[in-house]
């Protein structure tokens, strides 16, 4: 007898439908799975056999063939346990579904017949909604996550017996309710925790407003990490669409906390500098999201920037430009969203004390030259804001005013972003993402501002590239001041956030 159960797998972070076909015929007892299954799927035969037996159901002593269609995509992981088991029970007529609507099943089996959670459930729920499949059976622990998608009925299943009885119409279950919102970041805090560093805080405010990438240069212990960690607290909340995207990514990576839920916080990812290329961009033969995708719609903080492997840093270039990352593998290419704000930090020299008031730097000029050359020009070109974060003496810290609270900064940014959104009428974009055409269109200058800009370029020996960056920053500063025109003051302020352009910095070599 033949039975068919609908299930799903993950391609990158998107769900893809998989038909599980089970055929039972007479013959020498055997159990074969075909259709590009990986190791975890092959092993599911043992789990299924034990689970069915331990649920006191009959495992047919016949010739069992399972096909996972379409046969050309690779099936990974243990999520097919439950659909295959159901297929076997349906083919051997232990189950006669009373349910009339089509349904979709995913779940991993334990040997005792209980059902364990799987990754990427929200993507599968989105998929089944798109395919008009109104009912989903998912592991109980995933059920509130799947229920986040309106328009489909989700049943959370605790064990094999439960779903068998439900399908046979012996018991009733009530559909799951959507999960609450959840937090994914470990650290939080408030901008008012940071004393002093006013200029750096202002620069981060501008960055948050225009989605500009930032690099902070400063000695160890100057507070670069503390500043970066508090950046999510001033970013405007995720829109509904963004939240769903983030949740999908975290769900498919298996990073949602137990019980799942919708992510309402902007991600903050801070991978260590020993990270591999695959860890950063996503990898393995069936690609999983890497750090840059996990930072989607949030912040990617790279501490000790020059210590990262060269290939890892270079791989950031494409996503920094397009906001997505395409990974090509033998079985096709997969697109991951990766629109993040890069916040990098580095020491001013390998030992970290160049320019410090107290400690002498022990690096040779050659070492310093080499340290800086680790960051390639193309990467630096994509970083609009470059600031210095010096270590403050206790004395300075004591005299500094307590900082402004995140909440009031966030309010200002929200307003400025609305101002931006109003300007970029066709689809919402940020100043940081403006290309040369937008720059020409939206950064018009009055003659007097233009001549000031020319004077600045001459005086500080700026390149054509940094000229563009300067304009972008000035645009964001003007937005924060809710000004339609770029004013003189905006340009004058912007130049202070471009330290690596400035010649004084080169004096470090003497």
């Amino acid at each position: 007898m033949l039975a068919k159960v609908l299930s799903a797998t993950l391609l990158g972070i998107e769900g893809a439908p998989v038909d599980v076909e089970v055929d039972i015929t007479n013959g020498l007892p055997s159990f074969t799975i075909v259709g590009l299954p990986d190791q975890a799927v092959q092993e599911s035969r043992e789990r299924i056999r034990s689970a069915i037996k331990n649920s006191e159901l009959n495992f047919p002593v016949k010739r069992i063939t399972v096909n996972l269609a379409p046969a050309d995509i690779k099936k990974e992981g243990p999520a097919f346990d439950l659909p295959i088991a159901l297929g076997i029970l349906m083919a051997s007529e232990v189950i006669n579904p009373k349910l009339e609507e089509p349904f979709l099943v995913v779940g991993e089996l334990s040997l005792d017949g209980s059902i364990r959670p799987v990754n990427g459930i929200i993507s599968m729920a989105i998929m089944s909604k798109e395919l008009d499949i109104p009912v989903m059976f998912v592991p109980y622990e995933n059920s509130s996550e799947a229920a986040l998608i309106p328009g489909i009925k989700v049943y959370g299943i605790k064990n094999l017996v439960e779903i068998v009885q439900f399908l046979n119409g012996n018991i009733t279950l009530s559909p799951s309710i959507p999960a609450r919102s959840i937090r994914i970041n470990e650290v939080s805090g408030d901008f008012s925790d940071i004393k002093g560093q006013e200029s750096a805080k202002r620069a981060l405010e501008i960055a948050a407003c225009g989605f500009h990438n930032v690099i902070m240069v400063g000695p160890p212990g100057s507070g670069k990490t503390m500043l970066a960690q508090r950046l999510p607290t001033i970013l405007p909340p995720l829109t509904e669409e963004e939240a769903l995207e983030v949740t999908k990514i975290y769900s498919s990576a298996g990073l949602l906390p137990k019980g799942g839920g919708i992510v309402e916080e902007r991600p903050f990812r801070a991978p260590h500098h020993s990270i591999s290329l695959a860890g950063m961009v996503g990898g393995t033969s069936n690609p999983r999201p890497g750090e840059i995708s996990l930072a989607h719609n949030g912040i990617l903080f790279l501490d000790e920037f020059p210590e990262f492997r060269r290939d890892v840093l270079e791989a950031l270039r494409q996503p920094m430009e397009d906001g997505t990352l395409v990974i090509s593998r033998a079985h096709g290419s997969i697109r991951f969203p990766a629109r993040f704000m890069l916040v990098a930090s580095m020491n001013p020299c390998p030992c970290g004390y160049l320019g410090d008031t107290r400690k002498a730097c022990t690096c040779s000029p050659y070492q310093i030259e080499r340290y800086f050359s680790k960051i390639s020009g193309p990467i630096l070109d994509r970083i609009d804001i470059q600031i210095e974060v010096p270590r403050l003496e206790t004395d300075t810290l004591i005299k500094s005013n307590p900082g402004e609270r995140s909440e009031s900064i966030r309010e200002r940014i929200k307003k400025a972003r609305e101002f931006q959104a109003y300007r970029f009428k066709e689809g919402f974009r940020f100043n940081g993402l403006m290309g040369p055409n937008e720059l020409k269109k939206y950064c018009k200058l009055t003659p007097s501002v233009q001549s000031l800009l020319r004077e600045i370029v001459d005086k500080f020996h700026l390149s054509a590239r940094s000229y563009d960056k300067l304009l972008k920053l000035a645009r964001t500063i003007a937005d924060l001041g809710e000004s339609e025109l770029i004013r003189e003051e905006d340009i004058l302020e912007a130049i202070q956030y471009r330290v690596l352009d400035r010649k004084y910095w080169e004096k470090r070599f003497s």
């Binding site: 805080k201 160049l354 320019g355 300075t396 005299k399 005086k459 003051e489 202070q496």
Partner: protein, 348 residues
């Protein structure tokens, strides 16, 4: 022809490295031939040295290097007075030591910001008043001293620890070009053309630095540093040692503080040095900049170099406004910044 043979003799003498005896014999009025024979070298050695000397001579012509033997009127007078002056100097650039007063400025290769600022401050003041700078062409204090001298339109001499044609340290390549092309400075060396930077060259080179001038000024040096060796030579040669004091907890100031303790003159400004040369310092015109009210607030706070955060706190301005005013002052060339977000007035 006579000139050529004469220079080759001196090149030969220089290659023997027996400076003490050569100086002794030369000062008694012996000719180069006599000096060579008095040195008691084996015949074969003299022959091989002569061959090398002839090659050196040819290469010096090819590379445009000037050769100044001990006997030349162009040889630095003060250097000739020491007990072991080089028998011959290789020179690239202008022989600027003929043009006035010089002072040697030496210090660590790894200066703090304080050391760099002090060097700039003192050197620019000296150069402004016509005093040239001798230093060791290393990086750190040496490089800053040379650069500041060139920037101020003054004279400078770099004493190398390598052959005159070797670019060392590599990061000083542009400084090397600046010195030679400015026509206001030169590089000199006692080492044969093409000699690589060997560790023992540098202490030896230091005796020339101190030997070229009456005064050696030490800015930032740890207790065991090349600058302290130079100071030691200066005392041996009967010259004077000046030093810039520093924090007692700063390793880079332990050497200079030690020198002061032992009697070196304590220097806190360029004018302290000028006094010694009996030069009455030029009065620098204190610019009365026309400033807006806000600009004046910041200008007045900047009576010494300060950290941005400190200025901000004192001024009570809001960051955005503050950054705007800073740029304005920078644009007008009234203030400048250094790494570590330090701002200071541009010295008038």
């Amino acid at each position: 022809m006579g000139e050529e043979i004469f220079l080759i003799d001196w090149l030969l003498l220089n290659l023997t490295g027996r400076y003490r005896q050569i100086k002794e014999l030369f000062s008694r009025g012996y000719s180069t031939e006599d000096i060579i024979s008095f040195l008691g070298l084996e015949k074969e050695r003299v022959l091989s040295l002569r061959k090398r000397a002839e090659e050196e001579y040819k290469r010096s012509l090819d590379l445009g290097i000037q050769l100044i033997p001990l006997s030349s009127d162009d040889y630095p007078v003060l250097l000739r007075e020491i007990t072991d002056p080089p028998a011959l100097l290789y020179v690239l650039g202008e022989k600027v030591w003929l043009k006035g007063n010089f002072i040697s400025v030496v210090g660590t290769r790894k200066p703090t910001r304080y050391g760099i600022n002090a060097t700039r401050m003192i050197v620019s003041r000296l150069v402004e008043n016509g005093i040239g700078i001798v230093s060791g062409f290393a990086y750190g204090i040496d490089a800053v001293a040379h650069m500041e001298a060139i920037k101020g339109g003054g004279y400078t001499i770099g004493v190398l620890g390598t052959g005159i044609d070797i670019v060392y340290p590599k990061v000083n390549r542009s400084l090397r070009r600046d010195i030679i092309e400015s026509k206001r400075g030169c590089l000199i060396s006692e080492f044969p053309i093409g000699d690589s930077p060997e560790p023992w060259h540098f202490p030896r080179r230091n005796r020339i630095i101190s030997g070229l001038t009456q005064i050696t000024l030490v800015i930032e040096a740890s207790l065991k540093s090349g600058a302290m060796i130079t100071a030691g030579y200066a005392l041996e040669q009967g010259r004077e040692v000046f030093a810039v004091p520093g924090n007692i907890d700063s390793e880079n100031s332990q050497g200079t503080n030690q020198l002061i303790k032992e009697g070196a003159k304590l220097i806190t400004s360029g004018d302290d040095v000028l006094e010694e040369f009996n030069i009455i310092p030029k009065v620098t015109t204190i610019r009365p900049p026309e400033l807006t009210e806000e600009e004046a607030v910041i200008w007045n706070i900047l009576n010494e170099p300060r950290l941005e955060d400190d200025i901000l706190n004192i001024s009570g301005l809001d960051v955005s406004r503050f950054n705007i005013i800073i740029t304005r002052l920078e644009l007008r060339g009234l203030i400048e910044r250094s790494p570590g977000r330090i701002l200071k007035r541009r010295d008038g």
